[in-house]
């Protein structure tokens, strides 16, 4: 197949407290006028979390679970420019205690991916993305909230080298994420060791960096990855208190991603595990997806 369906690698459910929309993080492109629609299901859970730096369990939460279903179309505007959209429906629950699970449509994300430089097996890619909350969910009821109600804007640089004969590739990226202030239902809250007498909350900006090593051949792909995602500022969960959108959430995650798509129908799967973090749950996450490709060139 000339236009091998390129993957929609997913970093969704990476932030262990709150599921976030998927983020394109590979150097693989849909060909011109190729559309791939992915339908994905994600499951992420933790029974331990970092309260500031203290790793602990919470008998009044037990195991915290976040699940999501998401549609994610990706389209080749040209062979070097792709657009990707995603919109998840998310729901949360706990195995113990009495916190009410939350559910709803989360944020609509859009990404544009540009292949800026291509030389042999090497490519340098510029990726920009933004997201806006679609559902009117409660952002301050962490860890049960399904999102933070932020508008976001992300800029990412991604470099990749793929050895043409074997298909072995190495990809690395770094991103800066801007997040908007949010409005909460309360007209006062505590953050940064003080009380704010307002309903406006400053949510810290983020960065992430990741490396991926894998093999991509005709019809299939497999990779291992490691990612560091972190806020650039923010406060910590106070002793025995609940998390809050101002928290400096950090996580180092490792995982595996794979895809099989011999024809226009395929499947993908992803596993992630948080090795270390701050103000987040030590989550293990799974994602499976069904891929369907349509060629508008015909």
């Amino acid at each position: 197949m000339k236009t091998i369906l390129k993957s929609l690698a997913v970093a969704g459910l990476m932030a262990p407290f709150v599921a976030k929309a998927q983020m394109p993080n590979d150097a693989i492109y849909m060909g011109k006028k190729q559309l791939c629609v992915a339908g994905m299901y994600g499951y992420s859970s933790w029974s331990q979390y970092w309260e500031n730096t203290l790793k602990r369990e919470n008998f009044n939460i037990g195991t915290h679970t976040t699940q999501s279903v998401m549609v994610m179309p990706a389209y080749g505007i040209s062979n070097r420019v792709n657009v990707i959209l995603s919109l998840p429906y998310v729901w949360t629950s706990t195995s113990a205690g009495n916190l009410m699970g939350q559910h709803g449509i989360q944020d609509l994300a859009a990404w544009l991916k540009f292949k800026v430089v291509k030389a042999g097996g090497f490519s340098l890619n510029a990726i920009v993305g933004g997201s806006v909350p679609i559902g009117n969910y409660v952002p301050s009821f962490l860890p049960m909230s399904i999102g933070l109600q932020c508008r976001t804007f992300t800029g990412r640089l991604l470099a990749s080298y793929r050895e043409p004969k074997t298909g072995v590739y190495l990809t690395a990226h770094g991103s800066y994420g801007w997040r908007s202030n949010i409005t909460i239902d309360q007209n006062s809250y505590q953050a940064d060791d003080r009380v704010y007498n307002t309903d406006q909350v400053r949510v810290p900006n983020t960065y992430d960096a990741a490396v991926r090593l894998g093999v991509q051949r005709k019809g299939w792909q497999t990779e291992v990855w490691a990612e560091r995602s972190s806020c650039l500022s923010g406060d910590n969960i106070r002793r025995n208190d609940m998390p809050f959108p101002t928290n400096n959430m950090q996580a180092t995650t490792v995982g595996w991603y794979g895809k099989v798509q011999p024809r226009n129908i395929g499947v993908n799967a992803r596993v992630g595990y948080v090795l270390d973090g701050m103000n987040v749950g030590q989550s293990t996450s799974y994602m499976v997806g069904l891929l369907y490709q349509i060629n508008f060139n015909k």
């Binding site: 420019v81 009495n98 009410m100 309360q186 609940m242």
Partner: protein, 515 residues
């Protein structure tokens, strides 16, 4: 090249979109308060009825030196040098404290309440260590500033401020020392001035009284309070508002009054409020009344109930016998149709809580990490008094009436809760969207606090009475929407709170203020 144009076009589209999404400024605007000239100087306030003092002459203030004296003139010279030119930091301190001494210290107290409002974590052996006043910054921090604790801390703060200001007003109008800028027009002032005599300084009075109370209530915050006290006093010099002897006399008076107020605090029964040994007897009383399932902590490990004997703390506006009379009648039996109906209402909300219900539940939640419902209502009271341009003494009177009523509400409500020991909806499978407090259900604390505060505020600000009551009603409903109270917990609590508030209203009408 065609592709390049395409990329350019898409790039500019993205840039355009991102500009529309992003406003890069992430600063947060909080409502600002600025200083004002009081609408009324309340020159007779020295005769208003105090809470702990029997008379302003319980405390002494040395007669000031005449403004013509060499000592005073030297103070003026010093004041002029300190107020002539200010750094940015000094200007900010002047503006901050210029919003009002009572206003700011109440805000500081609410902030401390929020910082300390965290229930202790359980230890590995499944126990909950009790916060230790002698070691306040250890884990768990002392105090756990839960709603009853915060209500009491804020009540004592307001009482100390009020009694001290009444005494100060007495001496102000006895000595009638004019403001420095009225003695010498070349003194540069940074805040609005009034005709209120400045000896002793009301700011120094409030700062000292507040400092003593808050240091006792939040013993781990001494460095923080030291800094606030020093900045407040200095800000009066920087602003050209008080000479040093105004401040010294004020601090002395404030300290004397606060010591008397804290003497009451030491014997008001709070030290026995967490007597867990009493709960077995309370459960027996509740069962003897026919309760088939008593309240049980829903936390794991089981957490001892919050301050089970707080109901025995001495109230402000009525006596212990009246407290028993104020206690509402029993809640519905658990096998009654009324109970089933109330539980069914919660089950329905549990299944399909609306976003508006969640908003109301969240807005009034005032749970862990916040300044609690008493703090919420005192913020409302302080803002209303500031908007009405109340003098310091009238502001303190307002907050003392509201604050004592809030503490009374806490006492009555806790008495009721542990008298009936009624189970929470969570014992019947209902979840919560706001977090579950660790004490019996009947009656609702939010409802009792809110109705008491709204009743008092409605009496002080009659043109806003309906608005305050609507807020109390919403605060009460919020506990149903948040799924932690049956409707009857809330309606009965609201009614009881209204009755409690009436006692403070009557006190206010009889305190000699004519307000």
């Amino acid at each position: 090249m065609k592709n390049a144009y395409k990329i350019l076009a898409i790039g500019s589209l993205v840039a355009g979109l991102s500009v529309s999404i992003i406003s890069c400024d992430k600063s947060i605007s909080e409502p600002q308060r600025v200083g004002y000239t009081p609408a009324n100087v309340d020159e007779k306030a020295g005769s208003w009825k105090t809470y702990v003092l029997t008379s302003p002459t319980d405390v002494t203030v040395a007669a000031p030196k005449a403004t013509s004296s060499a000592e005073y003139q030297a103070e003026l010279t010093d004041l002029k040098s300190k107020s002539a030119s200010l750094t940015q930091e000094q200007q900010e301190a002047v503006v901050y404290w210029g919003a009002g001494a009572v206003y700011r210290w109440n805000e500081i107290a609410r902030e401390l309440a929020a910082r300390y409002n965290i229930p202790p974590a359980s230890t590995a052996d499944g126990k909950y260590p009790v916060p230790d006043a002698a070691n306040p910054l250890a884990d768990p921090k002392f105090p756990f500033a839960n709603p009853p604790y915060a209500a009491r801390a804020l009540a004592y703060l307001s009482v100390a401020q009020y009694d001290a200001l009444v005494a100060a007003w007495n001496y102000k109008y006895q000595f009638k020392r004019s403001a420095p800028s009225k003695v010498d027009a070349t003194v540069r002032v940074a805040l609005p001035t009034s005709t209120i005599p400045t000896y002793p300084s009301e700011d120094a009075v409030v700062a000292a009284a507040s400092y003593v109370v808050l240091k006792a209530m939040f013993p781990g915050e001494v460095p923080f309070l030291d800094a606030k006290l020093a900045e407040h006093q200095n800000s009066r010099l920087w602003a050209g508002m008080n000479v040093q002897s105004d401040l010294t006399a004020g601090a002395d008076l404030g300290n004397q009054v606060a010591a008397k107020v804290m003497a009451r605090a030491k014997t008001d029964g709070m030290s026995a409020a967490n007597n867990q040994a009493l709960t077995a007897g309370m459960i027996e009383v509740a069962k003897a009344q026919g309760l088939t399932e008593v309240w049980v902590s829903q936390e794991s490990p089981l957490r001892p109930p919050m301050l089970p004997n707080y109901g025995a703390v001495t109230p402000w506006n009525f006596d212990a016998a009246t407290k028993v009379k104020l206690r509402p009648g029993p809640p519905p039996a658990l096998n009654s149709a009324e109970f089933t109906k109330a539980l069914d209402e919660l089950k329905a909300i549990n299944k399909s809580q609306t976003r508006e219900q969640a908003r109301i539940a969240n807005y009034w939640a005032d749970g862990a990490g916040t300044y609690t419902p008493p703090g919420h209502w005192l913020r409302t009271a302080a803002n209303a008094a500031s908007e009405a341009k109340y003098s310091e003494v009238r502001m303190a009177r307002t907050l003392a009436l509201v604050g004592t009523s809030l503490m009374d509400a806490g006492i009555c409500c806790w008495d009721t809760k542990y008298y009936y020991y009624y189970p929470r909806p969570q014992q019947f499978g209902v979840k919560t969207s706001v977090g579950l407090p660790n004490f019996p259900s009947y009656t609702s604390g939010h409802s009792t606090f809110s109705a008491a505060a709204a009743t008092v505020l409605g009496s002080i600000f009659p043109d806003q009475a309906n608005e305050f009551w609507a807020q109390a009603q919403e605060a009460s409903n919020s506990r149903i929407y948040g799924l932690i109270h049956y409707r009857f917990d809330c309606t009965v609590g609201l009614e009881c709170g209204k009755n409690i508030g009436t006692y403070a209203v009557n006190r206010g009408k009889a305190d000699g203020s004519g307000l």
